[in-house]
Symmetry: C2
Subunit: 379 residues, 2 copies
């Protein structure tokens, strides 16, 4: 496998665009990524399109109006990890030399659900009986607060930080700053989670151009190096006796660090899957940024804010930047790449050399058939 | 890229199983493929699951009850070409050495649509106005009959052959033989297509285990060699001025033959995408088995029957074996592999050394954003 580099990035500001098609959403992201890469459409040899609910042939429906047909297009689904998985498959194919330059897309239109929950499959009886994502995370939050003797203000602090970062990101869906009091008094969703503890739903698209390192050089693009790609499946949590250990992320992180030859202390900036506030705290611990139980302290000390030791979600994360399911994985990578290139004015992690993007996907009931993808990048 | 070999195959007999989950459908196919490969579940390093309408995390939902978690699972969608695309991505990853042994699945449950048509996406206005698949193929059939001065009996002969082959296949959904008269008097669907010109809908699953050639050797398995993999996107037909040239297949075939270093005359057996009778005739021509306009003669001469020069769809094809969208691509490969291994008693193509599997997928409106996958295998 040859080295692969990200040479172009693009995304749209996530939001609610019920009148737009997937192609409408994705077009600006794709054109930005191509422009950054400095390649014309006809240089793209293959496309990998990540979407969870985009329907059949999403990639073809998006690329046809751009005249980008006659290339291999694979549509990839892994719930919230859909486009991170698409990125991985593209990385494998370009690394193997099957393609020199490939396009990776993430796209989703959640407004087509009309405000309702994600669809439930026949065998997802847990979800059918109410164990949807907010309820699942609420159980984990309640257990975490109980185990560590802390109150809901530690959750609220996550969303306050997210919105402080997101306010500096022109591409964030919800750019309003929020106070601790506002967060703690927002509408209850699934106690102890309140509205401010949950990411917004919305529509969005993200795009990345990758190339073999040798090809990137010929194109005159440095880009950012893909150091390692990790994808695994398994349990969202270790089991009912341990609700606050996200087994799948812990295991994926160990694989990712081993594969990259680095440790958590080497990471300068991370985007993690903060679909709910509690998730970010659990992932600090699962990713090794602090020992178990120390996440509230790590956050309160400012270590995970821009300017701290290990800034997490400088983009605003899912809580502020938004979370159109299939668009998220690539959007996280867009942020990490731009951070490593020093292009994130106002929220830049100074001197960032090594970045990590982490996403988990978990169907609907999600208790024990999740996906987790971790990608590590270096300048 | 190292050589990759298919070392295990499995599928269930397609049919209508509304009470079964995707996992129920896929389990027997997976266990058969693993048994044929002679590998235990824990030897599978990754899974690629092709499905068009299976919903989120189909692969995880299928593999979790089998205890096959903690591995990378990617779910792949490309309409009817979903599992052929999954096969290609698995081939790339194993060829690249990312994995030694991988599982490829195809699975679909069409009965969950309640007998209704495939879902229509927002921008598929052609489909919304009635240009569903049967209507699209009917237009092509009408044009073909007009251009070549032949009658609907040439279509009926395709389904007669399909059912003659399928009657010998214990895994075919519709194993009844059918006469020319029965075909020509079956219920009209979209003239000139009648019920007997259309594949049945149904549920189904298929599975394949692939391994690097060096790994297959260590496992003591010869298997069948993947000679070439081709995937492309583009137009279902050349344009409104030429309705009977399936541009995407013509182009994919040229790529496939060049990549494999063979020509159409070298192919001993083929499975092609006969979702409607007219399709098989068009694909004879697009795959180079005969010149344009000669497909009815090729068929009538018996060349494409088992025992002829280039047997097509010995399994019964989609018309008899059935067509659960996402399950089809891998099921076709299962048939080709078993033919090359001489295991198709009653419908065996004697001495087959080189086989080809061809599938096209086309969203719903499908006019100009299709997918086409062609895989060539050798003993």
């Amino acid at each position: 496998m040859r080295e692969v580099r990200v040479i172009g990035t693009g995304l749209i500001r996530f939001g609610k665009f019920p009148e737009q098609t997937l192609a409408d959403l994705a077009r600006p992201a794709i054109l930005t990524a191509l422009a950054e890469a400095g390649v014309e459409r006809r240089r793209i040899e293959a496309a990998y399109c990540g979407t969870a609910l985009g329907g059949m042939m999403a990639g073809q429906r998006i690329l046809k109006p751009l005249g980008m047909t006659s290339i291999p297009i694979a549509n990839i689904e892994n719930a919230c990890a859909s486009s991170a998985t698409a990125f991985r498959e593209a990385w494998i194919a370009v690394g193997a030399g099957v393609y020199d330059v490939a396009l990776v897309l993430g796209v989703e239109k959640l407004t087509k659900l009309g405000g309702g929950p994600l669809p439930v499959e026949q065998e997802d009886w847990e979800a059918a009986y109410g164990l949807m994502m907010p309820a699942l995370y609420a159980m984990r939050a309640r257990r975490y607060l109980h185990d560590h003797g802390v109150g809901p203000e530690v959750l609220a602090q996550v969303t306050v930080k997210a919105h402080r970062h997101g306010a500096k990101n022109a591409d964030a869906q919800d750019r309003r700053e929020i106070t601790l009091e506002e967060a703690l008094s927002s509408r209850p969703i699934a106690e102890p989670l309140r509205r401010a503890d949950c990411c917004p739903t919305g529509d969005g698209a993200s795009a990345i151009v990758i190339a073999g390192a040798d090809v990137a050089r010929r194109l005159g693009r440095d880009g950012v190096r893909v150091v390692s790609s990790t994808l695994t499946s398994g349990k969202y949590m270790t089991g009912f006796r341990d609700f606050t250990s996200p087994e799948i992320t812990t295991r994926a992180a160990a694989q990712a660090y081993e594969s990259a030859g680095v440790g958590p202390d080497d990471i300068d900036v991370a985007e993690v899957h903060d679909a709910f506030t509690i998730a970010e705290l659990l992932y600090y611990e699962a990713l090794g940024f602090c020992p178990r139980g120390d996440a509230p302290k790590l956050l309160a000390d400012g270590a995970t804010s821009v300017g701290g030791d290990i800034p997490v979600n400088p983009s605003g994360g899912l809580l502020s930047k938004g979370h159109p399911v299939g668009a998220t994985g690539v959007a996280q990578i867009v942020e990490i790449v731009r951070q490593l290139e020093g292009r994130c004015d106002g929220r830049q992690v100074e001197g960032a050399k090594l970045g990590l993007a982490h996403v988990t996907g978990g169907g609907v009931s999600g208790l024990d058939h999740g996906a987790c993808a971790i990608h590590i990048f270096s300048r």
